[in-house]
Amino acid sequence: MYDFVPGKVDWAARGLPVEGANAGKPNAGNLAQRDVATCSVDETVGAVQQRAADKGGVCVVVNEQRIVFGVLRDEQLGGSGDAVVADVMRRGPSTFRPHVAAKEMAEYMTKHNLSSAPITTADGKLVGVLFRDVVMKATENDS
């Protein structure tokens, strides 16, 4: 027997298997794009621009353990290529857990005009990036 001490919400937040009425519904974790552009704080913007462009126009700034430090979006990626990522990134961006329902993410991303959102585990490790067009498509038939 294994006693999962952190609790039920944290279990779901880690993207671990769950049962019940919401188990089969799309969520942020299973819709997130896993293959995303990442970079470290000491790279230059110029070094990551093409990488980000190839993966949806966003780059997540992580450390060696893939803990999210920041994010580079159009505004930062379109700036000077000589700038160091640490100086221009949006620090401590809002991140969301994999178990959050796709329908809720779609509603909030639309309401807040957010094109992408980093999805992380509860301890900040990058899972992927959820793009609004993907989550909107997945929930377009939901009532």
């Binding site: 919400v9 937040a13 949006r90 961006p93 809002s94 969301f96 857990r97 178990h99 959050v100 329902a101 809720e104 993410m105 909030y108 309401k111 807040h112 005009n113 957010l114």
Partner: protein
Amino acid sequence: MKALVCEGCGRSVDVCAFCDSEDCNEVICYRCVLYELGEARPPEPHTED
């Protein structure tokens, strides 16, 4: 600078906790985001023994 207030609970915030924007028209605080997205449960009253 415009004072931002959470639409859900009225708490003052520096930026919207959902979109990180200072110009958001639907400002929400971190605690309300957690409740709204089911990442945390609202506080429940303590029961008496």
